[in-house]
Protein backbone atom coordinates (compact mmCIF):
# COMPACT_ATOMS: atom_id res chain seq x y z
CA UNK A 1 0.00 0.00 0.00
CA UNK A 2 1.41 3.37 -0.93
CA UNK A 3 2.09 6.31 1.32
CA UNK A 4 -0.89 8.17 -0.15
CA UNK A 5 -3.40 5.33 0.11
CA UNK A 6 -2.63 4.77 3.78
CA UNK A 7 -2.89 8.37 4.72
CA UNK A 8 -6.07 8.92 2.68
CA UNK A 9 -7.65 5.86 4.29
CA UNK A 10 -7.02 7.43 7.67
CA UNK A 11 -8.26 10.82 6.57
CA UNK A 12 -11.42 9.21 5.29
CA UNK A 13 -11.97 7.42 8.60
CA UNK A 14 -11.62 10.76 10.42
CA UNK A 15 -13.78 12.65 7.94
CA UNK A 16 -16.76 10.26 8.01
CA UNK A 17 -19.62 12.03 9.71
CA UNK A 18 -17.23 14.36 11.43
CA UNK A 19 -16.74 17.38 9.19
CA UNK A 20 -17.12 21.01 10.25
CA UNK A 21 -20.40 22.76 9.38
CA UNK A 22 -20.78 23.66 5.72
CA UNK A 23 -18.48 20.89 4.47
CA UNK A 24 -19.81 17.55 3.24
CA UNK A 25 -18.20 14.55 1.61
CA UNK A 26 -19.90 13.54 -1.64
CA UNK A 27 -17.77 10.66 -2.90
CA UNK A 28 -14.33 9.27 -2.13
CA UNK A 29 -13.62 6.44 -4.52
CA UNK A 30 -10.33 4.76 -5.30
CA UNK A 31 -8.33 7.26 -3.25
CA UNK A 32 -7.58 9.21 -6.38
CA UNK A 33 -10.49 11.54 -6.62
CA UNK A 34 -12.74 12.89 -3.91
CA UNK A 35 -15.71 15.23 -4.27
CA UNK A 36 -16.80 17.52 -1.47
CA UNK A 37 -19.51 20.17 -1.19
CA UNK A 38 -18.88 23.40 0.64
CA UNK A 39 -21.13 26.24 1.70
CA UNK A 40 -20.36 29.68 3.06
CA UNK A 41 -22.10 29.90 6.38
CA UNK A 42 -22.21 33.60 7.16
CA UNK A 43 -24.47 36.08 5.43
CA UNK A 44 -22.06 37.05 2.64
CA UNK A 45 -24.52 38.07 -0.13
CA UNK A 46 -22.25 36.76 -2.92
CA UNK A 47 -22.48 33.16 -1.74
CA UNK A 48 -25.69 33.01 0.28
CA UNK A 49 -27.79 29.89 -0.21
CA UNK A 50 -25.31 28.34 -2.65
CA UNK A 51 -23.45 25.04 -2.54
CA UNK A 52 -20.17 24.59 -4.40
CA UNK A 53 -18.54 21.34 -5.40
CA UNK A 54 -14.82 20.72 -4.99
CA UNK A 55 -12.84 18.03 -6.78
CA UNK A 56 -9.66 16.72 -5.13
CA UNK A 57 -7.19 14.71 -7.18
CA UNK A 58 -4.40 12.97 -5.29
CA UNK A 59 -1.10 11.69 -6.61
CA UNK A 60 0.73 8.73 -5.11
CA UNK A 61 3.06 11.12 -3.31
CA UNK A 62 0.30 12.89 -1.39
CA UNK A 63 0.69 14.45 1.21
CA UNK A 64 4.30 15.23 0.32
CA UNK A 65 2.89 16.74 -2.88
CA UNK A 66 -0.29 18.85 -2.79
CA UNK A 67 -3.56 17.51 -4.19
CA UNK A 68 -5.06 19.18 -7.24
CA UNK A 69 -8.15 21.03 -6.06
CA UNK A 70 -10.66 22.69 -8.38
CA UNK A 71 -14.28 23.75 -8.27
CA UNK A 72 -16.48 21.75 -10.63
CA UNK A 73 -19.74 23.00 -12.11
CA UNK A 74 -22.93 20.93 -12.22
CA UNK A 75 -26.66 21.25 -11.73
CA UNK A 76 -27.09 23.51 -8.67
CA UNK A 77 -23.32 23.69 -8.36
CA UNK A 78 -21.99 26.96 -9.82
CA UNK A 79 -18.37 28.09 -9.77
CA UNK A 80 -18.13 30.71 -6.99
CA UNK A 81 -17.37 34.29 -7.98
CA UNK A 82 -14.00 35.36 -6.56
CA UNK A 83 -11.03 37.38 -7.86
CA UNK A 84 -8.85 34.27 -7.38
CA UNK A 85 -11.19 31.67 -8.89
CA UNK A 86 -11.33 31.33 -12.67
CA UNK A 87 -14.62 30.51 -14.31
CA UNK A 88 -13.33 27.02 -15.22
CA UNK A 89 -12.97 26.24 -11.51
CA UNK A 90 -9.20 26.67 -11.20
CA UNK A 91 -8.30 28.17 -7.84
CA UNK A 92 -5.40 30.49 -7.25
CA UNK A 93 -4.42 29.84 -3.62
CA UNK A 94 -0.83 29.63 -2.43
CA UNK A 95 -1.68 26.74 -0.10
CA UNK A 96 -2.42 24.56 -3.14
CA UNK A 97 0.75 25.46 -5.05
CA UNK A 98 4.01 23.56 -4.82
CA UNK A 99 5.52 26.44 -2.86
CA UNK A 100 2.81 27.06 -0.31
CA UNK A 101 1.85 23.45 0.34
CA UNK A 102 2.69 21.69 3.58
CA UNK A 103 2.12 17.98 4.30
CA UNK A 104 0.39 18.80 7.57
CA UNK A 105 -2.48 20.22 5.55
CA UNK A 106 -5.33 17.83 4.81
CA UNK A 107 -8.63 17.65 2.95
CA UNK A 108 -10.53 19.15 5.84
CA UNK A 109 -8.08 22.02 6.36
CA UNK A 110 -8.10 22.83 2.63
CA UNK A 111 -11.90 22.96 2.61
CA UNK A 112 -11.84 25.26 5.61
CA UNK A 113 -9.27 27.54 3.96
CA UNK A 114 -11.43 27.78 0.84
CA UNK A 115 -14.49 28.43 2.97
CA UNK A 116 -12.78 31.32 4.70
CA UNK A 117 -11.35 32.58 1.41
CA UNK A 118 -14.94 32.95 0.18
CA UNK A 119 -16.28 34.26 3.48
CA UNK A 120 -13.82 37.13 3.54
CA UNK A 121 -14.38 38.19 -0.05
CA UNK A 122 -16.42 41.27 -0.99
CA UNK A 123 -15.72 41.47 -4.72
CA UNK A 124 -18.23 39.81 -6.99
CA UNK A 125 -15.77 39.38 -9.86
CA UNK A 126 -13.45 36.98 -11.72
CA UNK A 127 -9.65 37.28 -11.92
CA UNK A 128 -8.17 39.66 -14.43
CA UNK A 129 -7.82 37.98 -17.83
CA UNK A 130 -10.27 35.23 -16.93
CA UNK A 131 -11.67 34.74 -20.43
CA UNK A 132 -8.26 34.50 -22.02
CA UNK A 133 -6.93 32.18 -19.32
CA UNK A 134 -9.90 29.84 -19.53
CA UNK A 135 -9.65 29.73 -23.31
CA UNK A 136 -5.91 29.11 -23.48
CA UNK A 137 -4.85 27.19 -20.38
CA UNK A 138 -3.79 23.58 -20.91
CA UNK A 139 -1.56 23.22 -17.89
CA UNK A 140 -2.32 21.52 -14.61
CA UNK A 141 -3.33 23.97 -11.89
CA UNK A 142 -0.36 23.38 -9.62
CA UNK A 143 2.14 24.02 -12.41
CA UNK A 144 0.75 27.46 -13.11
CA UNK A 145 2.71 30.35 -11.68
CA UNK A 146 -0.16 32.53 -10.74
CA UNK A 147 0.51 36.16 -10.91
CA UNK A 148 -1.25 37.67 -7.99
CA UNK A 149 -2.95 40.63 -9.62
CA UNK A 150 -4.55 41.76 -6.45
CA UNK A 151 -2.98 40.81 -3.17
CA UNK A 152 -5.50 42.73 -1.16
CA UNK A 153 -8.02 39.92 -1.52
Amino acid sequence: MSFATKRLGKELAKVHGNLPPGIALVTAEGFQEWLLDIQVLDANPIYMGQTYRLKFKFSSSYPIEPPEVTFVAGPDRPIPMHPHIYSNGIICLDLLGTQGWSPVQNVESICMSLQSMLTGNTKNERPEGDEQFVASNRRRPRDIDFYYHDNTV
Binding site: F3, K6, R7, K10, E11, A13, P63, I64, E65, G100, W101, S102, P103, V104
Partner: protein, 236 residues
Protein backbone atom coordinates in the same frame (compact mmCIF):
# COMPACT_ATOMS: atom_id res chain seq x y z
CA UNK B 1 17.00 -11.41 -1.94
CA UNK B 2 15.92 -14.24 -4.26
CA UNK B 3 15.45 -16.50 -1.25
CA UNK B 4 13.23 -13.86 0.28
CA UNK B 5 11.03 -13.82 -2.82
CA UNK B 6 10.88 -17.60 -2.78
CA UNK B 7 9.81 -17.52 0.89
CA UNK B 8 12.68 -19.78 1.87
CA UNK B 9 12.79 -18.17 5.26
CA UNK B 10 15.26 -20.34 7.13
CA UNK B 11 17.75 -19.94 4.30
CA UNK B 12 17.24 -16.16 4.50
CA UNK B 13 17.94 -16.26 8.22
CA UNK B 14 21.07 -18.32 7.69
CA UNK B 15 22.38 -15.99 4.99
CA UNK B 16 21.55 -12.85 6.96
CA UNK B 17 23.24 -14.12 10.09
CA UNK B 18 26.27 -15.03 8.02
CA UNK B 19 26.34 -11.56 6.48
CA UNK B 20 26.04 -9.98 9.95
CA UNK B 21 28.90 -12.13 11.24
CA UNK B 22 31.04 -10.76 8.41
CA UNK B 23 29.92 -7.17 8.88
CA UNK B 24 28.14 -6.29 12.10
CA UNK B 25 26.66 -3.00 10.88
CA UNK B 26 24.75 -4.59 8.01
CA UNK B 27 21.46 -2.74 7.65
CA UNK B 28 20.19 -4.81 4.73
CA UNK B 29 20.94 -8.10 6.46
CA UNK B 30 18.95 -7.03 9.51
CA UNK B 31 16.14 -5.85 7.24
CA UNK B 32 15.94 -9.24 5.50
CA UNK B 33 16.37 -11.07 8.78
CA UNK B 34 13.40 -9.25 10.33
CA UNK B 35 11.19 -10.11 7.36
CA UNK B 36 12.11 -13.79 7.56
CA UNK B 37 11.61 -13.89 11.31
CA UNK B 38 8.20 -12.29 11.02
CA UNK B 39 7.21 -14.81 8.34
CA UNK B 40 8.18 -17.56 10.77
CA UNK B 41 6.13 -15.83 13.52
CA UNK B 42 9.21 -15.10 15.53
CA UNK B 43 7.89 -11.63 16.25
CA UNK B 44 10.05 -10.82 19.24
CA UNK B 45 13.31 -11.47 17.38
CA UNK B 46 11.86 -9.84 14.28
CA UNK B 47 11.24 -6.65 16.25
CA UNK B 48 14.81 -6.67 17.54
CA UNK B 49 16.17 -7.12 14.02
CA UNK B 50 13.90 -4.44 12.57
CA UNK B 51 14.92 -2.00 15.33
CA UNK B 52 18.57 -2.73 14.60
CA UNK B 53 18.00 -2.11 10.88
CA UNK B 54 16.24 1.15 11.78
CA UNK B 55 19.08 2.24 14.04
CA UNK B 56 21.63 1.56 11.28
CA UNK B 57 19.45 3.35 8.75
CA UNK B 58 19.22 6.44 10.96
CA UNK B 59 23.02 6.46 11.07
CA UNK B 60 23.01 6.45 7.28
CA UNK B 61 20.50 9.30 7.29
CA UNK B 62 22.69 11.37 9.59
CA UNK B 63 25.78 10.97 7.42
CA UNK B 64 23.81 11.15 4.19
CA UNK B 65 24.72 7.59 3.21
CA UNK B 66 22.99 5.63 0.48
CA UNK B 67 21.05 3.51 2.95
CA UNK B 68 19.08 6.62 3.94
CA UNK B 69 16.53 5.98 1.21
CA UNK B 70 15.30 2.86 3.00
CA UNK B 71 14.07 4.74 6.07
CA UNK B 72 10.43 4.58 4.97
CA UNK B 73 10.27 0.84 4.36
CA UNK B 74 12.25 0.07 7.50
CA UNK B 75 10.02 2.29 9.62
CA UNK B 76 7.02 0.46 8.21
CA UNK B 77 8.64 -2.87 9.00
CA UNK B 78 9.27 -1.82 12.61
CA UNK B 79 5.59 -0.93 12.94
CA UNK B 80 4.56 -4.26 11.44
CA UNK B 81 6.81 -6.15 13.87
CA UNK B 82 5.36 -4.19 16.78
CA UNK B 83 1.89 -5.15 15.66
CA UNK B 84 2.76 -8.83 15.23
CA UNK B 85 4.42 -8.88 18.62
CA UNK B 86 1.34 -7.40 20.23
CA UNK B 87 -0.92 -9.88 18.44
CA UNK B 88 1.14 -12.79 19.71
CA UNK B 89 1.03 -11.53 23.30
CA UNK B 90 -2.69 -10.89 22.96
CA UNK B 91 -3.27 -14.45 21.76
CA UNK B 92 -1.25 -15.85 24.66
CA UNK B 93 -3.21 -13.74 27.09
CA UNK B 94 -6.55 -14.90 25.70
CA UNK B 95 -5.44 -18.52 25.77
CA UNK B 96 -4.31 -18.15 29.36
CA UNK B 97 -7.66 -16.69 30.23
CA UNK B 98 -9.46 -19.50 28.37
CA UNK B 99 -7.39 -21.99 30.36
CA UNK B 100 -8.39 -20.34 33.61
CA UNK B 101 -12.05 -20.60 32.67
CA UNK B 102 -11.66 -24.30 31.85
CA UNK B 103 -9.92 -24.87 35.20
CA UNK B 104 -12.68 -23.14 37.14
CA UNK B 105 -15.42 -25.01 35.29
CA UNK B 106 -13.57 -28.26 36.06
CA UNK B 107 -13.44 -27.41 39.76
CA UNK B 108 -17.15 -26.65 39.88
CA UNK B 109 -17.97 -29.90 38.10
CA UNK B 110 -15.84 -31.88 40.55
CA UNK B 111 -17.55 -30.24 43.50
CA UNK B 112 -20.94 -31.06 41.98
CA UNK B 113 -20.01 -34.70 41.48
CA UNK B 114 -18.75 -35.00 45.05
CA UNK B 115 -21.98 -33.54 46.46
CA UNK B 116 -24.07 -35.83 44.28
CA UNK B 117 -22.14 -38.90 45.42
CA UNK B 118 -22.98 -38.43 49.10
CA UNK B 119 -26.72 -38.06 48.46
CA UNK B 120 -28.80 -40.96 49.88
CA UNK B 121 -32.40 -41.77 50.61
CA UNK B 122 -35.83 -41.57 48.97
CA UNK B 123 -35.50 -38.02 47.67
CA UNK B 124 -32.05 -38.65 46.20
CA UNK B 125 -33.12 -38.38 42.52
CA UNK B 126 -34.71 -35.03 43.17
CA UNK B 127 -31.71 -33.78 45.18
CA UNK B 128 -29.30 -34.86 42.47
CA UNK B 129 -31.30 -32.95 39.89
CA UNK B 130 -31.36 -29.90 42.14
CA UNK B 131 -27.61 -30.03 42.57
CA UNK B 132 -27.16 -30.42 38.81
CA UNK B 133 -29.30 -27.37 38.16
CA UNK B 134 -27.56 -25.33 40.81
CA UNK B 135 -24.12 -26.04 39.30
CA UNK B 136 -25.32 -25.60 35.74
CA UNK B 137 -26.40 -22.09 36.75
CA UNK B 138 -23.08 -21.38 38.46
CA UNK B 139 -21.11 -22.49 35.41
CA UNK B 140 -23.32 -20.45 33.12
CA UNK B 141 -22.80 -17.41 35.36
CA UNK B 142 -19.04 -17.95 35.32
CA UNK B 143 -18.99 -18.10 31.50
CA UNK B 144 -21.06 -14.93 31.32
CA UNK B 145 -18.63 -13.16 33.63
CA UNK B 146 -15.66 -14.15 31.48
CA UNK B 147 -17.45 -13.13 28.30
CA UNK B 148 -18.32 -9.77 29.83
CA UNK B 149 -14.67 -9.24 30.77
CA UNK B 150 -13.56 -10.09 27.24
CA UNK B 151 -16.25 -7.81 25.87
CA UNK B 152 -15.04 -4.93 28.00
CA UNK B 153 -11.57 -5.58 26.69
CA UNK B 154 -12.76 -5.53 23.07
CA UNK B 155 -14.54 -2.30 23.83
CA UNK B 156 -11.22 -0.91 25.02
CA UNK B 157 -9.58 -2.02 21.80
CA UNK B 158 -11.78 0.25 19.75
CA UNK B 159 -10.56 3.27 21.63
CA UNK B 160 -9.31 6.24 19.71
CA UNK B 161 -5.65 6.64 18.81
CA UNK B 162 -4.44 9.67 20.80
CA UNK B 163 -3.17 12.56 18.67
CA UNK B 164 0.16 12.68 20.49
CA UNK B 165 1.31 9.32 19.08
CA UNK B 166 0.29 10.22 15.52
CA UNK B 167 2.61 11.68 12.91
CA UNK B 168 0.86 14.63 11.22
CA UNK B 169 2.24 13.71 7.80
CA UNK B 170 1.46 10.00 7.50
CA UNK B 171 -1.20 9.85 10.25
CA UNK B 172 0.55 6.68 11.50
CA UNK B 173 1.88 6.02 14.99
CA UNK B 174 5.43 7.35 15.27
CA UNK B 175 8.41 5.02 15.60
CA UNK B 176 11.21 7.56 15.82
CA UNK B 177 9.80 10.99 16.61
CA UNK B 178 12.01 14.01 15.98
CA UNK B 179 11.14 17.53 17.06
CA UNK B 180 11.51 20.84 15.21
CA UNK B 181 11.95 24.21 16.87
CA UNK B 182 8.21 24.80 16.83
CA UNK B 183 7.96 21.94 19.34
CA UNK B 184 5.99 19.78 16.92
CA UNK B 185 7.24 16.21 16.48
CA UNK B 186 7.14 14.11 13.30
CA UNK B 187 8.34 10.65 12.52
CA UNK B 188 11.86 10.86 11.16
CA UNK B 189 10.91 8.96 8.01
CA UNK B 190 8.09 11.31 6.99
CA UNK B 191 9.76 14.62 7.85
CA UNK B 192 12.84 13.49 5.88
CA UNK B 193 10.58 12.69 2.94
CA UNK B 194 9.12 16.21 3.19
CA UNK B 195 12.53 17.89 3.57
CA UNK B 196 13.72 16.20 0.39
CA UNK B 197 11.04 18.09 -1.46
CA UNK B 198 10.99 21.29 0.52
CA UNK B 199 13.51 22.28 3.22
CA UNK B 200 10.90 24.08 5.30
CA UNK B 201 9.12 23.59 8.60
CA UNK B 202 5.70 22.13 7.77
CA UNK B 203 3.96 24.44 10.23
CA UNK B 204 5.71 27.76 9.70
CA UNK B 205 7.42 27.27 6.32
CA UNK B 206 10.58 28.69 7.84
CA UNK B 207 13.79 27.09 6.55
CA UNK B 208 14.40 23.72 8.16
CA UNK B 209 17.33 21.37 7.59
CA UNK B 210 17.69 17.72 8.55
CA UNK B 211 20.49 18.73 10.94
CA UNK B 212 18.04 20.88 12.90
CA UNK B 213 15.93 17.88 13.88
CA UNK B 214 16.37 16.48 17.38
CA UNK B 215 15.20 13.07 18.56
CA UNK B 216 12.31 13.24 21.01
CA UNK B 217 13.28 10.40 23.31
CA UNK B 218 10.47 10.69 25.84
CA UNK B 219 7.84 10.70 23.10
CA UNK B 220 9.56 7.79 21.44
CA UNK B 221 9.34 5.76 24.64
CA UNK B 222 5.70 6.81 25.07
CA UNK B 223 4.79 5.74 21.50
CA UNK B 224 6.60 2.47 22.04
CA UNK B 225 4.71 1.80 25.24
CA UNK B 226 1.42 2.76 23.62
CA UNK B 227 1.97 0.22 20.84
CA UNK B 228 2.91 -2.49 23.32
CA UNK B 229 -0.56 -2.16 24.79
CA UNK B 230 -2.37 -1.22 21.57
CA UNK B 231 -0.69 -2.97 18.66
CA UNK B 232 -3.95 -2.72 16.70
CA UNK B 233 -3.24 1.01 16.33
CA UNK B 234 -0.69 0.21 13.62
CA UNK B 235 -3.63 -0.38 11.26
CA UNK B 236 -6.23 1.93 12.79
Amino acid sequence: MALLKLSRWSAVIEDSNHAISLLAENMKAYYYLAQAQIALHDSEFALDSAKKAHELCVKEVLIGGKGAGSLNVITELVLKCKKENWERKEKERLMARGGLLADLVGLLERERDQKQEVVHGDTSQELIREISNEYAEKIEELRHTFEAANGAHDEGRRRKVPDWVVDDITFSVMVDPVVTKTGQSYDRSSIMEHLRRSPTDPLTREPLRAEDLRPNLALRAACDEFLQENGWAVDW
